[in-house]
Structures are given as structure tokens and as C-alpha cells.
């Protein structure tokens, strides 16, 4: 009887602890089936003579957004072990001393980490081209565009969008001729690559597409100075929005700039007295108002170099690859070297990038309708040594920006 009981118990233990399917597919649980090694090598410009050691290279999974960070060795190479998937590798760092600091940014093409892409050594290899850029004297300090629920009618109110530009340098800068633009496409999308890519690749073009309207600060060249630490406000609708929604921002402040043109945007709110007007030098869209995305805009500052606005429009107008037959979707292509500062916002970390790494190597994740604004972080070290507020500018909004629970002008302009 004891013998039979032992056999029955032994059989029960085997049954409870065994797992037929798991045993059949045992190899699927091993690390080699779940992940692979990837070797990423930074490709510096020929002019670069600095050290290649110590840069943090980030491998980001295209579908889950998970990131793995490894430090480069003396050859500028980092080895990763990551789950199978599609990745982009990026690097963000600085080289040189204050006053002549170069910003090194780079993002690779999509790296396929899967069985078919394995090299003979069993390790996947990828190259990461590195671009060198420099920080801008004038930066986008804060942006508010997502709007907030209007308690009077339970709808999201978004017309009080604004942007604050700031002189981050130690010298005067002039706003004359400075251009503001939003990028195409209007919203971030979940396709694997932007439509504005170089032929046959997933790499973004060397120029940024301006959508809808081209805006510029007027002036002869020295009419509108901005001192170090000073800022200007650009509004879509320069009115007191608190009269429409108690949760909105009062933008009826003399001295603010309005993205308003009587001919191009006649249906936009008439700016209040004392507001200065931006100049619209080009328009493609058929709409009579100018709006920015409430969920995921990407905007930048640039200066036209070596040509007039007329020549710029004539030579740099491009059809939209998605709707090449419709003139209303044409875009002005701005050379990346003209760009002073840019910020890309996304509503989903899995969406594709629209800005080149030299302009913005990261993105800010925002949610619409929560009354939040995005604001540049203060660079404590630089501020201390300069004796004034200096904001972070590494051309990577992922690290340069933070989310404010409430737009700064809402409290500042209340009861004005």
C-alpha cells in the first residue's frame, strides 16, 4: 500500500511540476532568443579632434520607448544587449569650454535587431553619425499650447497659446528679421519615419519644412533689441482670454507680439491695444486663422541668410510629399544651418521624430487639455558663473525642458 501511495505521489509531483509546452519550447526562454548584442560606433566629422571616450549612447526601442544607455570607449564604440526590435541610437554631449562649447548630437537610422540582420560574428552593428552644433543666443524659453477645460462650457479652451523667447547670451540680440515657424506635419504621428526624409533612407532631410504661414519680426535690423535676460512673448490671440474662460491666460498686455496679419489671418482675434504685430511674409494654407497643434507641435526660430524673403520663398518652396498636387500643403524648406533653436513635442513617445538631431535630439512629452506648459530648465552652473539666469541649451528638449503645472503668464498677468 505504501509502495502504491509513493508511486501515486511521485506521479502527482511530476504532473504538477512538469509543463509540456514549456519543455517543447525550452529554447525560446533563453537570453539568445530574447535578446541580441548590438555594437554602435559613433561617426564623428573629420574636423572633430576631441576625445571619443565617455559619451552616453542611448539605444531607444521604437515600439516600447525603452532606453538602454552605454558609455563609449576610446574608439567611440558602445556594445549593447537589447531585446529584439527596431531601435534608434542617439548621443548628446558637449565638448570644449564655456564660451566656445560645441554641442554634439547624433541619431542613427533605424537599427533592426532581429535574426536576419545578424552579422557573421552574431553581433549586429550600426553606425551613429555625430553632428556638431552650437548653442543659440536666443532660445524658446516657454510654450503653452495644450489649453485647459473651460468650466463655463466644459470644453477645452486652446486659443490662449503663447511662446516666450529669451536672450540666453551675455550680449544684446536684435529681433529684427528673426523668424518663427511650426513644422510639418502638424502633429506627431505613429508612422515609423517622417515623410520629409532623404530618398531611400529614414534620415530626415537637411532642411526643416515650415507649414502654413511664415512669420518674421519686422524692423530694419536694429529696431527691436533684446538685452541679456530679457524675454518677449508671441501670442496667437493677443486678447484677455480670462473673459472667455476663467482658467485661460490674459494676453492683452502692451508689448506682446501677435502672430496676426490682417490679410492672411482676418478671422483671428483682433489684438488688443499696444500689441505689436509679427509680419507674415508667406502663406500656403487656405485657412484664415493661424493655429498650432494642441497635442504635439514642433516649432523653431531661424534667420534667412543671404537672400530676401521673396527669394527665399521662390527658391525654397516644396510640395508636400503626402499631397503633392495640393498647393495649400506646400512647405517652405529652411536649411538646418539657419535654425537657431527648435523644440519638438510629442503626445506619444512611440511617435516618429520630425526634427533633425542638430535642432532637437529629443522631445517633450505633453498631454493636451491639462493646462500645462513646457519650460526650459535653468542651468544652475552657468547661471552662477554668469551672474544671471541662463537656461539649459543642449539641443535636446528631453533634458532641457520640464513640464509646468500651470503657464507662468497665467498667474503673472492675472488682474492686469
Amino acid at each position: 500500500m505504501d509502495k502504491y501511495f509513493s508511486y501515486a505521489f511521485f506521479l502527482l509531483v511530476i504532473v504538477l511540476e512538469s509543463s509540456c509546452l514549456r519543455d517543447i519550447r525550452k529554447s525560446d526562454f533563453k537570453d539568445d532568443s530574447l535578446s541580441a548584442e548590438v555594437c554602435v560606433t559613433m561617426d564623428f566629422p573629420e574636423s572633430y579632434t576631441g576625445s571619443k571616450y565617455g559619451f552616453n549612447i542611448v539605444m531607444r526601442n521604437r515600439f516600447t520607448g525603452t532606453e538602454t544607455v552605454e558609455m563609449s570607449d576610446d574608439d567611440g564604440t558602445a556594445v549593447f544587449r537589447v531585446p529584439y526590435g527596431i531601435y534608434t541610437a542617439s548621443v548628446n554631449g558637449t565638448d570644449g569650454e564655456d564660451g566656445k562649447k560645441a554641442i554634439l548630437n547624433g541619431v542613427s537610422e533605424e537599427i533592426m535587431v532581429a535574426g536576419v540582420s545578424m552579422g557573421a560574428s552574431g553581433t549586429c552593428s550600426a553606425s551613429l553619425p555625430v553632428n556638431i552644433s552650437y548653442s543659440s543666443p536666443i532660445v524658446i524659453k516657454e510654450a503653452y499650447f495644450g489649453g485647459m477645460l473651460n468650466p463655463l462650457n466644459n470644453r477645452n479652451y486652446t486659443k490662449d497659446a503663447y511662446f516666450i523667447l529669451y536672450n540666453n547670451s551675455g550680449s544684446d540680440v536684435f529681433l529684427d528679421g528673426l523668424c518663427f515657424a511650426t513644422i510639418d506635419p502638424y502633429n506627431s504621428t505613429n508612422t515609423s519615419a517622417s515623410i520629409w526624409v532623404k530618398n531611400g533612407t529614414s534620415e530626415l532631410r537637411d532642411s526643416l519644412p515650415v507649414s502654413s504661414i511664415g512669420w518674421m519680426f519686422p524692423g530694419s535690423g536694429t529696431d527691436y533689441p533684446l538685452s541679456p535676460g530679457e524675454e518677449v512673448v508671441l501670442c496667437l490671440n493677443a486678447i484677455n482670454h480670462e473673459k472667455i474662460s476663467p482658467e485661460a491666460v490674459n494676453l492683452a498686455v502692451p508689448g506682446y507680439w501677435a502672430l496676426y496679419d490682417r490679410i492672411y489671418t482676418p478671422d483671428q482675434s483682433e489684438p488688443s491695444a499696444g500689441t505689436r504685430l509679427m509680419k507674415a511674409f508667406w502663406k500656403a494654407s487656405l485657412s484664415d486663422i493661424y493655429i498650432v497643434s494642441v497635442s504635439s507641435p514642433a516649432f523653431f526660430l531661424y534667420r534667412i541668410e543671404g537672400m530676401t524673403t521673396g527669394e527665399f520663398v521662390a527658391s525654397c518652396l516644396a510640395p508636400n510629399p503626402k499631397k503633392p498636387e495640393n498647393r495649400a500643403f506646400d512647405c517652405l524648406m529652411v536649411d538646418k544651418l539657419w535654425v537657431l533653436d527648435g523644440v519638438e513635442c510629442m503626445s506619444d513617445p512611440l511617435h516618429g521624430k520630425r526634427m533633425r538631431p542638430e535642432v532637437d535630439n529629443g522631445f517633450v512629452l505633453v498631454s493636451e487639455g491639462l493646462g500645462q506648459s513646457i519650460c526650459r530648465k535653468i542651468d544652475e552652473e552657468a547661471s552662477k558663473s554668469a551672474g544671471r539666469v541662463v537656461y539649459m541649451d543642449t539641443n535636446n528638449s528631453s533634458s532641457d525642458f520640464e513640464i509646468l503645472p500651470s503657464p507662468s503668464l497665467k498667474i503673472k498677468n492675472r488682474n492686469l
Binding site: V15, L16, S19, C20, L21, R22, R25, D28, F29, D31, S33, L34, S35, R60, N61, F63, T64, G65, T66, E67, R81, V82, P83, Y84, G85, I86, E110, M112, A114, G115, V116, L149, N154, R155, N156, T191, S192, S295, S347, D348, P349, L350, S367, E368, G369, L370
Partner: protein, 527 residues
Amino acid sequence: MKTGHISIVLLAFAVFSSVRLSADGTYGDGYPFFVERTADFCPWLLSGNVSGNVFTFADSLNMSFAEIFRKDVSGGFKRYYEPERYGTSGFRTASAKTIGNLFVRGRFDYGYTGAKGHAWCGTVVPEEIICFMADSVPGKTAGESYNTSVGLSLALSDVMAAGVSFDYDVGTLSKFNDGRNSNTRSALGVSPSLAFRYGKFVFGGALTYERVSEKVSYKYIGDPAGKGLYYFEGLFYYTFSPASSSFLSERWYYNEAFGGSLQCSASSGDVDLYGEISLKYRMENDYQDNLKSWHYNEVLGLDWSYTGNVLFRRDRFRHVLKMDFENLERMSYNVLNVYEPVPGENNQYRYREYGRTLRYASRFLTAGMSYVFYADADLSGHGKWRTVTGYSFALSDEEFMFYPVSSYRKYFFHRFAFRADRTFYPYKGGVSDIGAGAVYRCGYGSFSSSDGFLSSGSFRQNTGLLESEHMYNDSENISVLVRISHMHDLKPHGKLSLYGTLEAGAVFSQSLHMSRRIFSIAAGFYF
């Protein structure tokens, strides 16, 4: 029990051959009150082989029934996918008949369910799909179900019978506030079978094919600010997609299963033996749209089970020993897709697959045994007293893998049940049945342990759901149920009878200070 009522008992059993009762003997799925009695004595009627009924189902038992029912459930002690309260109204009809050498059974169920406080309802059958999408906002839902089952078997000779059974189920589910989902599920099952009789032995074998498909779409009509969908990938790991005014997300789930079963029974004087073993291999393919162009996930499954029944007859007592064992395994693979241009085509794109990676594996095992005792049994074996004492054990083992992170969750459950039913004959042509039962359940296990931690990206584990499930699983609770039934003959010898059933029960969890209440009522005709 009178002969006419015996036939009702066996009829109900024959009709509900696809109903599997738990081995610990607790009440079935709200079907007519005689069903579980019949299952004790005629195990072939509950098997996956309809052919065996030709040799075991007496033609004197031909009968049909139809009933309407209403069931209400409410209370806070629930799984995360269950509504706070719901009510189901419906209609059931079934029939079993022997015509010469032919045995026929059929069943049709219809149910309409309205629920409140229902969230995470991304599939018609909860937890059927591992990588499902759902939203977290509770709301009102409504669903319908249509279930049809038909079985035919023919005695080809004195020793051989052949048969086939078909099952077809359709279910729908919709939520009426953002995120609004609309689900439609259909399931088809076919099972051809053979049975052989050799003296006191009956052997049988059946093949099984099942196909289940479900379509789900989510959209938002109102202000989408702050809302969105959760896309789960196992063990509550998910990515989140915020909603927008033009948001529409659709998925199709396709599930196929191939399998078979073997049965054997022996009858010798005072002892009847029965055993059945079945095996099913499942393949599921999930698509992100309704055009099968984006194949995002694949699931493999292996289900095997064993059922055993031993019946002892001695004087006016009947002893039934029942055993049940089931092992369900699933492995879910994430399919790597790239949205890329089609070579040689202008402005054409496609999703191309680049392999699969194991993401989630699970195993659910249950084993149970119960002892059914009939006292004061008449010659046909159905007694005035029936008691059931049962015990079952369950193991739930899950693992989620996303290199370098592995997460585990394991639970053990013990379930002890006891119930007693008493049958009365208050007057000629009437029979009443009063029963009461209690189940004690306790569970223990790990909340979720991980090797490694995902510190970036949109891949997160929903710790809120993990916690609420842990509180539910890692607790003790007691269920009590009382049932009162009465049947009245409108025509003699059970040719036409009217019956009604009232059930009331509750589950209490002292540690969580929560409960859940069940009330159901049914009325019908046997004819």
C-alpha cells in the same frame, strides 16, 4: 424520485453535455436544478464524445425543456474585469431524443446582460486574449450571447456508433461611455466521434476542431483629454496610447484549436467506471487592424485534461467518486513588424514581419476530487438525500519577459466545498428540492516579483491592477448558496411539467470586508 422526473433529470444532463461541472460538486452554471444529479450517473452525456450515448442513453428518457431566467449579481468583491453589478435575462431550450438507432441532442441559449461600473472590458470572454486592449473608465455595458449546440450519433451496428457534434456561439459587448468599445465574438466547434462496445466496456474517441474570432473597436466621442487605451502584453505590462478626437483603434483576434479525446467506461454489477482524457493544441493570431495587414502577436497553447467517475451501488445508497484534472498552458510571442515601402512599388507601404520573441508564458492547473453520497435511493439511483464533499487545488504560474527584465507571479488556491440537497414529494405530481451549500476558498502567492526593472519608455506594469488582483487572490473567502425548486406535473408521468427555481447566495471576504451577492430565478416547462 418518480420515473417521469428521472427522465427530466437525464434529459437535462443529456442536453448539457458541454457543461462541465466542477469536481468539488458546487452548483453548475444556473441550469435546471436536476442537471447535476444526472451527471453523477451518466458521465458519457458530459463527455466530448456524442457517439457513446447511443450505447448508454435509454430511449425512454426522450424529453425537451424550455425556460426563462433572470440573474442579478452585485457587490465589491470581484475581479478587475467584472462589473460592479450586472443582470442577465434570457431564454434556454434543449432537447434529447433517441429515434431508433439515432441519438439527437440540441440546445439553444440566449442571454442579454446589462452591467454598471464595468471597466477593462476589452474582450467578450475575460482573459481569453492575453494581448488585449482596454480602457480604465468604468461605465455601462450591454451584451448579448447566442449559444447553439447540436449532437447526432448513429449506431452503425451492435458494437459501433459514429456521431458528430457542432457548437456555435456568438457574443457581443458594448460600452456606452468613452472609451466606447464594440466587440463581436463568434466561436465554432466541430467534433466527429466513434464509439465501440465490447461486452460491458464502451470505448470512444473523438476529434475536435474549434475556431474563435473576435473583433473589437474602440473610439472616443466626447472630450478625449486625459483619456486613452491600454495595450496589454501579459502580466499587466502595457503601453498607453492617448485618445484624440479622431481616435479609432481596431483589433481582430483569431484562435484555432485542434485536438481529440479518448473515453472508456465499464459497468459491472454494483460498480461503474468512467474515464476521459483530452488534448487540445491552440494557435492564436492577433491583428492590429481589420485587414490582417499588421500581425502583432501570436499565441500557442496546449490544454489537456482528465475526468474520472466511479459509481458504487449498495442497497439504497449510491457513492460517486469524481476526479477532475486540467492543465492549460499559453505562450505569447510578440511579432516584430516594420512599416516599410513595398519594393518596386511607388508610394506603397506594408507591414513586414521580422521574427517573433517570446514575451509571456503561463500555466493554469486545477485538480479536484469530490465524493457524492445518495441516501434513501430508489431503484433508479436517485435519492431523497444528496450530499457532496469536495476539494480542489489550483496553481497559477505566469512569467513575463522583456530583456533584461523578467517578472513572475504564482498563486496556489485551495477550495473545500460541502452541500446537501433534500428532495420532497409534497403531493402527487409534485416534487420539491431544497439545497444549501458552502465553499471555503483560500489563496496565497506572490504579488509580482521581477528580475530587473524597466526604468524608461512607455512599457509599464499596471501596479493598480496587480494590487487589486493580489488582494482578491491572496485572501480567504466563504461562499454560501441556497436553492429552492419545485416542479408540478401538468400531465401525468412527467409528460408536461411546470417548474421554478429560486437561488440566492453570497461570497464573503472577511479580510477585505467585501462581499458579492447573487440572486437568480428561473421558470420553465418540461415536455
